[in-house]
């Protein structure tokens, strides 16, 4: 099963930083997100894209884990050569992570 089954994600831009929010569809699945989406896991998933460090913010009452990823947008939205200069599509990539079916646990 993929993370897409239990969460949604949205990314945004701040200069050369990308923001990434991952939100549990069912708030009961939040602990799974917190366990799965460590700074190291996110950094590894986006290797080759995120050149800087990854910062994580936990919002359990919202069922959300939020990340700020430095040096992630090819020099910044306004000068990037990327087709998706804003990194808007980055959010979808995290939903590809494999998870154990929480219903089976």
């Amino acid at each position: 099963m993929k993370l897409q089954n239990i969460a949604i994600a949205r990314s945004g831009d701040k200069g050369n930083r990308a923001t990434l929010s991952v939100i549990a569809r069912d708030p009961a699945h939040y602990p799974l997100l917190e366990r799965l989406l460590t700074v190291d896991a996110v950094q590894a998933h986006y290797r080759g894209i995120v050149q800087g460090s990854v910062h994580r913010f936990l919002l359990p009452h919202l069922g959300a884990v939020h990340f700020v990823m430095d040096d992630a947008l090819g020099g910044g939205v306004t000068r990037s050569l990327a087709l998706d200069a804003h990194g808007k599509t980055l959010s979808a990539a995290i939903l590809d992570l494999a998870i154990d079916d929480p219903a089976a646990a």
Binding site: Q4, N5, I8, R10, G12, D13, K14, G15, N16, R17, T19, S21, I23, R25, P27, H45, Y46, R47, G48, I49, H55, F57, L59, H61, L62, G63, A64, H66, V68, G76, V77, T78, R79, L81, A82, L83, D84, T89, L90, A93, D96
Partner: protein
């Protein structure tokens, strides 16, 4: 502001989340939202720099190209109902935008209209005179030299308050922090003090939830089979019903498409926020870390629990500067072997760049459909085992002159006669890069002023 007793629920709507946004949902909100204020947020990071370039060619331009169309759509209902219209569509020329609003009002035959123009965000002269250091960079303003085209500080809600106190029906600004466009009328209506930081934090929360329009009401979240959103073609733009303590219900007009729920509101709450406990705004450092979002009815989410601390000493300013050109070319390959032919095309293009003495150019050569979005790692490891039926070659490079950038596209086009079999659909483009840098400026560098224009 004339239509209501001070402490009743304040209804504030979002009429645009960016410059090119749909207009009909804004018109629907104006006509049926029973709004006290309708806010249009239309300025992205470098919009002002681009508008400044237009203004330098034509002094009466430099404001949002859709300003007149938006005003024609909403002014009749807003004037009839006493809804205040607030927008940063003034961009690089708020005075000309204000005059344009009056022209529209005359054409519509409106009986009266008071337009307030807020200026003071333009800090170009100050930035040049004081040679400020650039954020996230070792450079200073002077290093940009004559490439610098604009510098605009993010004004706060305080800059809009005199306009509202003067009874403006329409408030037109240049650069203002997006949430401040919403915070200002809330402060004015409820009489919130400018140093009541927790209260202002809650007002910023309302503004932030609304500032991207449909992104909080079902836009940008649909994922068929996983999260379905009804009626995206007729999505309703959001409005907030705000109480005197800043507690707000985010909702949309009945019968419109989209959805407002915990997920849509959480996604927007965190959108483009760095540390949720320290969201830096000109009016307050807002704290969203303990915000509660509760579904209180169909398409109704209550937002509360934001707080705040003292506002920053300095204002952030965005500097727009010319940064060379980007040349780009694309060509498609399809059918069996499409990927191999696309890869051959990329190799050829790399060789051609070397031949032209441009191997050192910062460039990207990629296959759309394989690795253009997320690079080799995610594209390869996470991609399907099956080859895509079609791919599109893309070459983009940073060039110092327009002629060099044009050559890039021509090299891609030349693959027609000189490249792999069956390439088609070439497009090429050249664009001047207007880049944005940030700097901090003291508040006295951006002295706001309000000019009143009456019909």
């Amino acid at each position: 502001m004339t239509c209501c007793a001070p402490m009743e629920t304040y209804r504030i709507g979002s009429g645009a989340g960016y410059a090119g946004d749909r207009i009909d949902p804004a018109q629907a909100l104006a006509e049926h939202g029973r709004l006290h204020a309708l806010v249009f947020e239309c300025l992205a990071e470098r919009t002002i720099a681009l508008a400044q370039l237009r203004r330098s060619c034509e002094p009466r331009h430099g404001y949002d190209p859709l300003l007149e169309e938006r005003m024609r759509a909403v002014l009749p209902a807003c004037v009839r109902q006493g809804t205040t219209v607030i927008s940063n569509m003034g961009a690089a020329n708020p005075q000309a935008a204000g005059a344009a609003v009056l022209t529209v009002a005359r054409e519509l035959g409106l009986p009266r209209l008071r337009v307030a123009v807020v200026t003071g965000d333009d800090v170009l002269a100050w930035v040049c005179n004081n040679n400020v250091p650039l954020m996230d960079s070792s450079e200073r303003a002077s290093d940009l030299g004559d490439r610098l085209v604009s510098a605009n500080a993010y004004l706060g809600a305080d800059a809009l308050l005199p306009a509202l106190a003067n009874g403006a029906d329409v408030v037109i600004t240049g650069r203002v922090a997006d949430p401040a466009l919403f915070l200002a009328p809330l402060m004015f209506h409820f009489g919130w003090r400018a140093d009541d930081w927790p209260q202002l934090g809650q007002g910023v929360l309302v503004g932030h939830l609304l500032e991207c329009a449909a992104q909080v009401s079902g836009g940008y979240i649909a994922d068929p089979g996983f999260l379905d959103v009804p009626g995206l073609a007729d999505i309703g733009f959001p409005l907030a019903e705000v109480q005197a303590d800043g507690t707000a219900v985010i909702t949309k007009l009945e019968g419109t498409g989209g959805r407002v729920d915990r997920l849509t509101c959480t996604a927007q709450l965190l959108y483009e926020i760095e540390d949720p406990a320290r969201y830096l705004q000109p009016d307050v450092v807002a704290d969203f870390s303990r915000v509660q979002l509760q579904e209180v009815g169909p398409d109704r989410v209550q937002a509360r629990g934001a707080s705040g601390t003292q506002r920053p000493t300095h204002l952030k300013a965005t500097l727009g500067y010319r940064d060379g050109f980007i040349g780009e070319g694309q060509i498609s390959y399809a059918g069996p072997g499409a990927v191999a032919r696309g890869q051959l095309a990329l190799q050829l293009l790399e060789h051609r760049l070397q031949r032209l003495g441009r191997a050192g150019f910062e460039h990207r050569a990629e296959l759309i459909g394989v690795n253009a979005m997320h690079g080799a790692h995610l594209g390869k490891e996470r991609g399907s085992d099956r080859e895509p039926y079609e791919v599109r070659v893309r070459l983009a490079a940073r060039c110092s002159t327009r002629a060099q950038a044009e050559r890039l596209g021509q090299e891609v086009e030349a693959l027609y006669l000189n490249g792999p079999a069956a390439g088609g659909g070439v497009t090429q483009s050249v664009r001047e890069v207007i880049a944005a840098a940030s700097a901090l400026v003291p508040r006295e560098a951006a002295r706001s002023a309000v000019q009143i224009l009456d019909l």
